[in-house]
């Protein structure tokens, strides 16, 4: 005879259900517990954790430093663009009053920001001063230099400047328009190249961070295999199993980010003096750009997310392996 209770089972046959609200509290509690627990596990092996974080930091420093350097170059770039000018040479026969009229006409053009008229005489004076050939040039009977107008365009974009040059060339009395944009364009290409290199490096080294964290977490998953197995058997969701590892990954990432931040600060301190001296020798004042609050927050956020993602990948791979067939 099989045992069959006569009355409805008083307790055993009804599973206990938790109310949604208390379940939410339980969820939050588990997050808090795992956040602290994973931090404690990291602190329990301080040297190993530090080495992992250092590896992450080193992977982060290079792209971050390059990014900072490009930021500095962009500041420099903007300053140089300010000085992008066109030199409009007037025809040799143009006399001074006519030159002044042409100057006014040029200034009236909508794309022109500022103009500076250099008369033939002024041009000669500048030339003599620059070359120190006052005597030789003074012997010339006639001033061979034409009057010129230095035009600062409103829009420093090379294409716009080139278009403006073409338009100004058509103005009557204008002989030739010179624009020296080649170096500006070269600088732009260099900056573009730098950005792409920085991006590629960031992607590569970001991948490196994923691998470092992933590998570390994989080992820790391996060492807690039995625990994972048991909690899975008694109804833990994948999210529950992942949680402590995700927090570990995030801690590694955050630690690595903080170390990278420290390395960057140290590095810029170390380079500040020679950079300032170099800039001074060019008669410029250039300071190494600092990470700033927003940059620091971005660095820490990215490193933490990378750590989290690396852990997620590592644990998910393990979970996929143990899924029932």
């Amino acid at each position: 005879m099989s045992r069959q209770p006569a009355a409805p089972p008083p307790r055993g046959a009804r599973t206990h259900r938790t109310r949604p609200r208390s379940r939410l509290r339980g969820w939050a509690r588990h997050h808090r517990a795992m956040c602290l627990d994973s931090a404690r596990r990291l602190l329990r092996a301080p040297i190993g954790s530090l080495l992992t974080m250092l590896a992450i930091a080193i992977a982060l420093v290079l792209p971050a430093a390059l990014w900072l350097a490009l930021d500095g170059a962009r500041l420099l770039d903007a300053e140089l663009e300010e000085s992008a000018t066109l030199t409009v040479y007037l025809a040799p026969h143009v006399e001074e009053p006519q030159a002044a009229r042409i100057d006014e006409a040029l200034l009236a053009h909508e794309a022109v920001g500022r103009t500076r008229l250099i008369t033939a005489a002024e041009g000669m004076a500048e030339f003599q001063q620059a070359l120190g050939l006052a005597d030789a040039l003074g012997r010339l009977e006639e001033n061979p230099l034409p009057a010129s107008v230095v035009v600062t365009p409103r829009d420093p974009d090379p294409a716009a400047v080139r278009a403006l040059a073409a338009e100004l060339e058509a103005v009557s009395g204008v002989d030739e328009v010179r624009l020296d944009l080649a170096w500006l364009e070269r600088l732009r290409h260099l900056a573009e190249l730098g950005h792409r290199v920085a991006l590629a490096l960031a992607v590569l080294f970001g991948g490196g961070v994923l691998l470092v964290v992933g590998n570390t977490i994989r080992l820790s998953v391996e060492s807690r295999r039995q625990e994972i197995e048991v909690v899975t058997l008694i109804g833990a969701t994948h999210a529950f199993v992942r949680r402590p590892f995700l927090y570990s990954g995030a801690w590694y990432g955050l630690g690595g980010g903080l170390l990278a931040w420290g390395l960057l600060a140290l590095g810029s301190e170390w380079l500040a003096a020679p950079v300032a001296a170099l800039a001074a020798s060019y008669g410029a004042s250039f300071r190494l750009p600092q990470l700033g609050a927003a940059g620091s927050a971005t660095l820490l956020l990215c490193s933490t997310l990378l750590g989290w993602l690396g852990a997620w990948i590592a644990v998910s791979r393990h979970l996929a392996e143990v899924r029932p067939r």
Binding site: M1, S2, R3, Q4, P5, P8, P9, P10, R11, G12, A13, R14, T15, H16, T18, S22, R23, L24, R25, G26, W27, R29, H30, Q226, E227, E229, V230, V231, T232, L233, I234, G235, A236, T237, H238, F240, R323, P324, R325
Partner: protein, 222 residues
Amino acid sequence: MIAFEHVGKRYGGRFEALANLDFRVRRGEMVFLTGHSGAGKSSLLRLIMRLERPSRGRILVAGHDIDRLHHSQVPYYRRQIGVVFQDHQLLLDRSIYHNVALPLEIQGVESREAARRVRAALDKVGLLHREKALPIELSGGEQQRVGIARAVVNKPALLLADEPTGNLDPQLSADIMALFEDFNRIGTTVMIASHDLALIARLRHRTLRLREGRLVADEEAA
């Protein structure tokens, strides 16, 4: 509670672990599953726990075809089943209390409620005084009782046990079985895989006998 409909399980396409199993277990029943090692007892339990999926046939638990559960639903399904393992599967770095509390922690049961239920379960298996001990400090019989406390702390409708007395002497084995009978008496459906035929014969419950993956006998206890 459990219905197997022509269930077969093959491993690697060749080895047939279970073949054409067809039986039902009613709600509130207590059933033994016997057979030599390798007869398929563990495979059968693993199918019910959905640690594996049948190659053929259907398994219904509480009316649901468990093969059709989405994998995200499987954890919630498993929470309704208490499982006792031969090697008890306790976490060695946690105290007895925390081992028993594990299923409640997974379900996010509030700590005061959890404490109440953990203590009730430990009291039931007679180990309330050892709640702070680590598993390693306990004897084999005590460890198995902790495993049982963990399996029932959740008040499951179905309790599965895989050789729960495998490593215990006859007296301890009888004690463990008496515990299972207690839970069955309050309405829990119990299924125990065991090859301790002498003990099973004394307990007088329905017995399913497996041989080479086939059900060769289904004996209602006299």
